[in-house]
Subunit: 187 residues, 2 copies
């Protein structure tokens, strides 16, 4: 739980009282490898902090898996669109390794927003930050070549990335597995 | 100004007191056609509500203009990334018609956040909403064909869109002007 507090402190330090109320809303859960946190068609009414494990986002297009994101320890994982709108997720969120996460539900978070102006502000900072993340991803899709996108992913967590199957990485980069092997060999 | 209040009311109704403080921070400005609200390299420290006019976002890639967005009356326009981070904009924001806008600066908005919990919450709602907008655009780039993207743009404001030069629309859709003419002829 101290990891979560440290994460929030990057945005806005909370008082002990605020943190006590906040942290009591997080529930610990464990998942085995290849379990689903969310399936396509389900609504996602929580945000989860990853203490251990690796997750991937993917959707199915004509039966083919299209990987759109990876999440590592220290990241928050959710289908934020589904979380905000209540609409069903179009993505699967799946564990690639055994995982430990801390979940907070929408309803609890909204009550925290009502009770604490600082947590309301934290919610704004996090929404603004997620905006920047997705805007950067849009830019990366529009402008970056697969080499740059591969490097960016390696910068995030090159150790855990070694355990991700190559075909999933290639799908994320929008290239064939053979092309990814060539990129890696060149380094 | 009542247009702005109506826009905010979609998210969260403000009291007269909150609105009085908020609205006093907006400054009216007028622009001629082909003027710049923001140039690439400049930091964007404001958000502007469009009362009249049409704006486009574009950046230069090897001397070529790449159009990434259009904004119409009733929209807010800003380089939100630059607004949030203080970093220089990579985009130009240019008027395509004479325009009337209402600007609010970052500094004033932050003071409003401090003074009113409801405006702090409104800021979160708007950040969440902008997240959804940019996530939808990312999806549209990844999955939609130019026909769908053209239709989506027409749905937003087909009347004012008629005044936008065809080559800018084609750039936004990521296709050649000739291809856009063919799509339009088919309808």
């Amino acid at each position: 739980m101290e990891q979560i507090r440290a994460y929030f402190n990057n945005f806005l330090p909370l008082t002990d009282n605020e943190w006590e109320d906040f942290s009591s809303c997080f529930k610990k859960e464990t998942y085995a490898k290849k379990e689903y946190l969310v399936r396509a068609g389900e609504s996602c009414d929580f945000i989860a902090f990853i203490a251990e494990g690796v997750y991937r986002f993917y959707y199915l297009q004509e039966g083919e898996e299209k990987v759109t994101a990876f999440f590592f320890p220290g990241d928050f994982v959710t289908n934020y669109r589904s979380f905000l709108t209540g609409k069903p997720s179009e993505h699967f969120i799946e564990t690639l390794k055994p995982s430990v996460i801390y979940k907070i539900h929408r309803q609890d978070l909204n009550l925290l927003y009502d009770r604490h102006k600082n947590i309301e502000r934290l919610g704004r900072y996090i929404a603004e930050n997620l905006y920047l993340t997705v805007a950067k991803r849009l830019d990366s899709f529009l402008h970056d070549n697969p080499e740059n996108r591969n490097q960016e992913l390696l910068n995030r967590n090159s150790k855990l990335l070694q355990e991700v199957p190559q075909y999933m990485l290639a799908s994320y980069l929008g290239i064939k597995p053979e092309t990814l092997s060539r990129i890696r060999a060149r380094k």
